[in-house]
């Protein structure tokens, strides 16, 4: 709980009136001071009650990249039967979003644009919700335990690499035309977190109440197997960022991609599940 500037001024006002009441012995001033003290006490209790009985959950996108802004949906449910909740400010990774009112029994879905730093397995232990309700004297905050584990993939970094060398190996004929970045609109799908924000179909998202992305057509390309250790880059992290970019870029073009790791080889394929598998491997690369 943190006292705000308005709270400090209110206390000063209260002290002034209290000082006046005690020194004049004027009971009407005592009444006023008592009422103001009462207001402060009740606002304290209501402020506490406002943050109780909330249930908080987090909907993380499937693909989270190191340092790349992504939309995380915070779900807040007011478990009270009658009392609404007000002015709930969600603080996540230094970013915040506001729920102005939340009716009793209602659930709010709050998108928070935030970025996670550092690839690999991460854990969100708690989520903090703050509120100045009912009056802006105190900022109360409450940490809701989450214990949510997730993976952060290396940030994709453009990697100019000439396929056809020892890095690339053809495993099959031309693949059919599929989704990509430069064709016509071919499909509308749920936002997973992997898509760039410019792909979000805002009008449709607003109409349907959840984020939707546009997929456009692309032409097919040849399969490759990537060995991160052999990719250009000053260090392993830079190489992994390049590999991530290549995996996404090539698979978006429906080009089958495989991965050569220190101890095994992941054969090229072109499905979404395969791509997630590769990204997971890259996220955990070199980590035990």
């Amino acid at each position: 709980m943190k006292l705000t500037r308005a709270g400090i001024l209110y206390i000063v006002l209260l002290l002034l009136l209290g000082f006046g009441a005690v020194n004049t012995g004027n009971n009407l001033l005592y009444l006023m001071v008592s009422a103001l003290l009462g207001l402060m006490s009740v606002s304290g209790f209501l402020g506490r009650a406002n943050l109780r009985s909330l249930e908080v959950a987090l909907d993380l996108p499937e693909e989270i990249y190191d340092g790349v802004e992504t939309l995380v949906t915070v779900r807040i449910k007011n478990r009270r039967r009658k009392l609404p909740a007000f002015l709930l400010q969600v603080d996540l990774q230094g970013r915040s979003a506001l729920v102005r009112t939340l009716g009793a029994g209602d659930e709010a879905r709050v998108p928070v644009a935030t970025a996670f730093h550092g690839r690999g397995a991460q854990r969100l232990a708690e989520l903090r919700i703050a509120s100045i309700f009912p009056v802006n004297f105190f900022v109360r905050s409450f940490a809701f335990p989450l214990e949510r584990d997730f993976l952060v993939f290396p940030a994709p970094h453009p990697c100019r690499f000439a396929f056809g060398s020892e890095q690339a190996r053809e495993v099959g004929g031309p693949t059919p035309k599929g989704r990509g970045g430069d064709g016509d609109l071919c499909q509308i799908d749920d936002y997973t977190g992997a898509e760039p924000l410019k792909r979000i179909h805002w009008k449709l998202s607003a109409r349907q109440g959840e984020l939707k992305v546009k997929h456009t057509g692309a032409t097919a390309r040849e399969p490759v197997v990537l060995d991160p250790a052999l990719l250009p880059g000053r260090d392993l992290e830079e190489k992994l960022r390049g590999a991530t970019w290549l995996v996404n870029r090539l698979m978006r073009e429906e080009r089958p991609v495989g991965l050569r790791l220190a101890d095994r080889l992941i054969a090229p394929a072109v499905s979404r599940g395969h791509r997630m598998h590769l990204l997971r491997e890259l996220a955990l690369y070199g980590q035990t």
Binding site: L13, N26, N27, L36, R100
Partner: protein, 636 residues
């Protein structure tokens, strides 16, 4: 849908008006005109989102007003400049742009304005300004929280509906807590700034009476005091105040009485609590004949006059009287002192006294003859008797034959003394309106009265009221009671003064002492109104977190049901213990009871889907619980 700013503007107008109204009667013309004008102009311009007073001008105007009124401030003239300045500052704020800083300033200035009004008047009207102001400010502060996060917010009807509960609960609970805090906040024995207390209009008993001077007071309906007492016979309600024992030229006055030992005996003991109006009088009235007084520092004289310091503030004191008792002068009195006469008595008065004295044997007969003389004169009780400067007694008895208590009493006492009976005048009040709603007498200034005490047989002071000898006494003293409306208003005013205005350190200590005593179970009894309010408030403070906790966790009914169910299962299936981690379904399988399976299905269906049990489900659960462990019996 409504704009947040519109709501805040409306609250600012309302709250500032509540700050202005109680001060309106005390304002100079500029402030009196400026505020309503600023309110109207400000409201009109707010709708256009333009502001007539730019920040620079507002500052300039504020500084000018401050300098102007600061120059007028002195120790005796402190409040008036301050309230004028406050109202002008409010007017400036209403004309300026309003935002996150300005709204709290308007609320604060309004609060200070209302606080300042308490230094000018102590009437109950204050409460009727304070309560709505707290409601308005509370709602304003809640809306300001929303304003802080989004100044351009538009509140939907649904949001307003949700907020309406807060707008009601927050001020209502604050006002309830106000009652508790009021009685427990620390107070001092002698406030340092006592001079800032509002002073009351002068009233009360004087220790010098010139016949004719009381007429003004007798027409006044202003309360003199209120006294809590059991109902008493109205014709015997003499409230003793001061004894006038010396005639100086035309004026009767009080001189220090000679040392004499008196005793009050007989009669019925009556306890009273007095709430006199503030005033310059030092005399503390009590029901005749008074025995003792407690509650204020005072001096008691042998002639049963109780005096203290002039009452600048409201106070209360307790009195004990012997109603219908006798005042006995144990060692006689200084006869010379009580027989003092004016230098000249008119021949007509002398002749009348000679006739009376020659025909009577003893004091009682003389008094009776004197009373007969007054009756024979067919004197008329009238307030427009005027004053005859030359010889008021002669003029009253033989010329005008009209007068009120002063004329009757001063003439009677003079004739008594001339007849050789020591006598004195007693000033006080006669009668009063009994307020059955409040259980007290309201005694107005119009009840001011003067009567006579004569020393009979050198031993007993006897009360004589010559005014009752007028031929129209029955009509003059019949009086009219309080109608229900006046009675109600006066009762409200009385309790306001009694509970709020006169509450001080002494009463606070007494309250805590009584609360401590009543806390002991063996001494428990019904608490008085202030202590009940204080206890209720403290209880509320203590209970509120639990109440809110209960409100936030609204599954009490389901929890109780589950607890009963688990106890039942444990008992009927003879289980040693049911681990907390065991699910209902798991438990049902373990005890292999269809009733338990059914209970688990209903209860789990609701709770695990995060909803409370419906009434029907709740009833079914209870029915199912009756069958738990009874399978064998039912089947058998």
């Amino acid at each position: 849908m409504v704009r947040l700013k519109t709501l805040l503007n409306l609250l600012a107008y309302g709250v500032s008006l509540l700050g202005f109204l109680p001060l309106a009667a005390h304002l100079d013309a500029p402030a009196l005109v400026a505020f309503p004008l600023a309110l109207v102009v400000g409201a009109v311009w707010d709708r256009r989102e333009e502001f007539p007073l730019k920040p620079g001008f507002a500052t300039l105007f504020t500084v000018a007003a401050f300098v102007f009124y600061a120059a007028q401030v002195s120790r005796d003239h402190l409040i008036e400049p301050a309230v004028n300045l406050l109202v002008l500052l409010l007017a400036v704020r209403l004309l300026s742009a309003k935002g996150g800083r300005e709204y709290p300033q308007i609320f604060t200035l309004s609060l200070f304005a209302l606080a300042a009004s308490s230094l000018l008047s102590l009437g109950i009207a204050y409460l009727f300004y304070l309560a709505p102001m707290i409601v308005g400010i509370t709602a304003g502060l809640v809306l300001l929280s929303f304003y802080k996060v989004d100044p351009e917010a538009v509140l939907e009807r649904r949001e307003l509906r949700r907020l309406s509960g807060v707008f009601f609960a927050l001020p209502a609970t604050s006002l309830l807590l106000m009652l508790a805090f009021f009685f427990i906040l620390p107070r001092t024995q002698q406030p340092l700034w006592n001079f800032l207390q509002p002073t009351a209009a002068a009233s009360g008993l004087s220790d010098r009476v010139i016949p004719g001077s009381l007429a003004g007071a007798l027409e006044e309906r202003r309360p003199a005091f209120r006294v809590q007492s059991p109902p008493l016979p109205p014709q015997e309600l003499y409230w003793r105040g001061v004894v006038l024992n010396h005639l100086d030229d035309r004026a009767w006055e009080r001189r220090t009485p000679p040392r004499e030992r008196t005793r009050v005996e007989g009669g019925e003991e009556v306890r009273q609590t007095f709430f006199p109006e503030p005033g310059p009088s030092q005399y503390l009235p009590l029901l005749d004949l008074p025995l003792e007084l407690t509650g204020v520092r005072h001096q008691r004289d042998g002639d049963l006059v109780f005096s203290g310091r002039p009452r600048e503030r409201r106070l209360s004191y307790e009195g004990v009287s012997l109603f219908g008792g006798r005042l006995v002068a144990e060692d006689g009195v200084d006869r010379e002192f009580y027989l003092q006469l004016p230098q000249q008595i008119s021949p007509r008065v002398e002749a009348a006294i000679s006739r009376i004295v020659s025909a009577a044997a003893g004091d009682r007969e003389t008094i009776a003859a004197l009373e007969d003389f007054f009756i024979e004169r067919r004197l008329t009780y009238s307030l427009d008797a005027g004053l005859h400067a030359e010889d008021p007694v002669d003029h009253f008895l033989f010329e005008s034959r009209r007068g009120y208590c002063e004329h009757f009493a001063t003439s009677f006492v003079l004739m008594l003394r001339r007849a050789g009976i020591p006598a004195r005048l007693v000033g006080g009040y006669y009668g009063g309106h009994y307020n059955a709603m409040g259980g007290y007498y309201l005694v107005n200034e119009s009840h001011a009265h003067l009567w006579v005490e004569a020393l009979v047989d050198g031993r007993e002071w006897v009360r004589l009221d010559p005014t009752t000898l007028s031929h129209n006494a029955a009509q003059a003293f019949g009086g009219s009671g309080l109608n229900w409306r006046r009675g109600l208003l006066d009762a409200v005013d009385h309790f306001w003064n009694r509970i709020v205005i006169t509450y001080d350190l002494q009463q606070q200590i007494e309250l805590f002492r009584k609360a401590g005593e009543r806390a002991a179970p063996e001494r428990w009894s019904a608490p008085s109104l202030p202590s009940a309010a204080a206890l209720a408030g403290v209880a509320l403070i203590v209970a509120l977190p639990f109440m809110l906790r209960g409100a936030g966790n609204l599954r009490g009914r389901e929890q109780r049901l589950l607890r009963r169910y688990l106890n039942l299962v444990r008992r009927r299936h003879k289980l040693a213990e049911i681990p907390p981690s065991m699910g209902l379904q798991e438990l049902a399988e373990q005890v292999d009871d269809p009733a338990c399976r059914r209970f688990a299905a209903i209860f789990g269906g609701a709770i695990y889907h995060d909803r409370p049990l419906s009434e029907e489900e709740f009833r079914e659960c209870r029915e199912v619980m009756k069958r738990v462990g009874r399978r064998g019996k039912d089947e058998g």
